[in-house]
């Protein structure tokens, strides 16, 4: 799939996390390869979102290692991990609600010289320059996700599907190479569903982004995922193509229940 072959983007080894005696993650290891779409599936409470939170630094694991492009990222604050190139969306959507769609996007770029106080007063031209560049890019992304008509509306005025598109666009504006998407198509109408899925596919195909997404909608998983990881009780139960996992998952279900 990816143009750059099978180099590994993210390597997770032996990650464990316990919340109040409950093992949310139990010795999880996996490697995400560049340009691939990986789906994380499994029942609620399987530890999928916890894994995302550990990767982007919101939660510290009890043990284990994570390397991104060969460098350890555990223990780094979330903003550093984000700056390294790991972007994410949230299961319960997070947006800057009272700010406009454009401002939401402009806040998502990793580099903006005008965000340093000193430069506002001593290097105003460079501030203006990056602001103009970012604005152009932001408007392109807004067009890509089809929100051009809503540019100056506050984010909270958008429909749920449009908010999902906006959060995806913000992820893209960050320019990260690894996108962690938490339930990207949950609760959207069929038209929005198509748009989001084709966007994800295009990202991996055309821009060799690596995507890892959590999803309960098996139609979406079957359609875009190169690889499916089935988690339950904080452990990886199965790992393979959709067909492989679907086959063994049913036998697994029968086995457990």
């Amino acid at each position: 799939m990816g143009r750059k072959g099978n180099s590994s983007m993210l390597t997770i080894s032996h990650i464990s996390k316990t919340f109040d005696g409950i093992k949310a993650l139990n010795d999880v290891s996996l490697t995400l390869e560049r340009g691939k779409v990986t789906a994380l599936i499994g029942p609620n409470g399987a530890g999928k979102t916890t894994l995302f939170n550990i990767i982007n630094g919101f939660i510290k694991p009890d043990g284990g290692r994570i390397t991104y492009l060969g460098k350890a990222i555990i223990g780094q604050p979330p903003y550093i991990i984000a700056r390294r190139g790991i972007a994410r969306t949230f299961q319960v959507l997070r947006l800057f609600e009272s700010l406009s769609v454009l401002d939401n996007l402009l806040l998502s770029f990793r580099e903006n010289r005008g965000e340093a106080l000193f430069r506002l007063y001593f290097s105003p031209c460079s501030v203006l320059n990056t602001e103009e560049k970012n604005r152009t890019k932001a408007l392109e992304l807004i067009q890509l996700v089809g929100l051009t008509a809503k540019v100056s509306e506050p984010a909270k005025e958008l429909s749920y599907g449009q908010q999902k598109l906006l959060s995806l666009a913000m992820c893209l504006a960050m320019g990260g190479d690894l996108l962690l998407l938490d339930e990207p198509v949950a609760g959207v109408d069929p038209e929005m569903f198509r748009r989001i899925l084709s966007l994800i596919e295009a990202l991996c195909r055309d821009e060799s982004k690596t995507v890892c997404f959590i999803e309960h909608h098996m139609g979406a998983v079957a359609e875009v995922a190169d690889r499916v990881i089935f988690m339950d009780d904080g452990k990886i139960i199965d790992d393979g193509t959709y067909q492989q996992v679907a086959k063994s998952q049913s036998s697994l279900r029968a086995y457990i229940r």
């Binding site: 979330p78 947006l95 800057f96 806040l107 005008g114 960050m174």
Partner: protein, 287 residues
């Protein structure tokens, strides 16, 4: 005439205070009740330097800003690690500490007796000693403080401040070092209000701790809320309104003892009415 000028000079002082607090509380969402403490620190630094060392006003002003920023750093680093409610409590504690120091460190601040006879400023040969010249000095400082804040409010930096207010976790996930933004804006706001404090000290020529209490902090916050959080013009209008309203009471022929209480009641009433009917203030944030 002088009475009118006097009110305008006070409006100028409070414009500086409210605009700087708006950056912290309106834009960034950090509700601070310690603003009067930094206002007082500015006033005390200018007063003490002028009284003991007879240094020129401009130098004192710069040192007052530096002093307030330095102290703000000490406050900001631990308290900004706290989330909303706890941050308010931390600033409250700092406000109380500063007031106690001003009140009790008698050998340094003269305690409740205050510091009388603060020399009036001479700026490069310009003697500021009457109402008109104070009006001009206050106007210049207020305009500078406003422009400085305007630059912040309407910049990518200011946009991140709003982002931090809206959703700090999202801002972190997007690669913003939210702590850096919170600390720096707190320092900037505290430094700016020290200018207001300096102006107050040299204009009144007498300061004592009673001008820098928690009541004063809450008054400044009221200006920001009534004027409109996240809108600098709102703070200007708020300052005009809240400083001049109690003066109008005087003309209603109310004896001073009652007018003072009426003032408090009126502020309280105004705040409640705004919270209920116009929570965004007179002019809210631009969208």
């Amino acid at each position: 005439m002088n009475y009118l000028l006097h009110i305008i000079i006070f409006i100028e002082i409070y414009i500086i205070a409210a605009v700087s607090l708006n950056l912290i509380s309106g834009y960034t969402g950090l509700i601070s009740v310690a603003h009067a403490a930094f206002y007082g620190i500015g006033a005390y630094i200018v007063a003490l330097l002028a009284l003991h060392f007879h240094t020129p006003f401009m130098l004192n002003l710069v040192l007052a800003i530096i002093g307030a920023v330095a102290l703000a750093t000490v406050v900001a680093l631990p308290s900004l690690r706290l989330t909303e409610d706890y941050f308010i409590i931390a600033t409250f504690a700092f406000q109380v500490i500063i007031y106690s120091v001003m009140n009790n460190w008698v050998s340094f601040t003269s305690g409740p007796l205050g510091l009388p006879g603060i020399p009036q400023p001479v700026i490069f040969g310009w003697v500021v000693d009457n109402h008109i010249s104070f009006l001009v000095l206050g106007g210049i400082l207020a305009i500078l403080a406003y422009l400085f804040s305007w630059r912040i409010a309407n910049s990518p930096y200011g946009r991140v401040l709003k982002g931090v207010r809206e959703d700090e976790i999202l801002a972190e996930a997007l690669g913003k070092n939210t702590m850096r933004f919170k600390v720096t804006v707190f320092l900037v706001g505290s430094g700016l209000v020290a200018i207001a404090g300096s102006l107050y000290a040299v204009y009144i020529t007498f300061i004592d701790p009673s001008s820098f209490t928690i009541d004063e902090s809450i008054f400044m916050l009221s200006i920001v809320i009534v004027g409109g959080m996240g809108n600098l013009w709102g703070s200007v209008l708020g300052a005009v309104l809240l400083v001049s309203i109690p003066e109008i009471l005087r003309f209603l022929g109310m004896p001073n003892s009652i007018a003072a209480n009426m003032r408090q009641i009126l502020y309280g009433l105004l705040l409640v009415l705004f919270m209920v009917f116009r929570p965004r203030g007179m002019i809210g944030e631009k969208r």
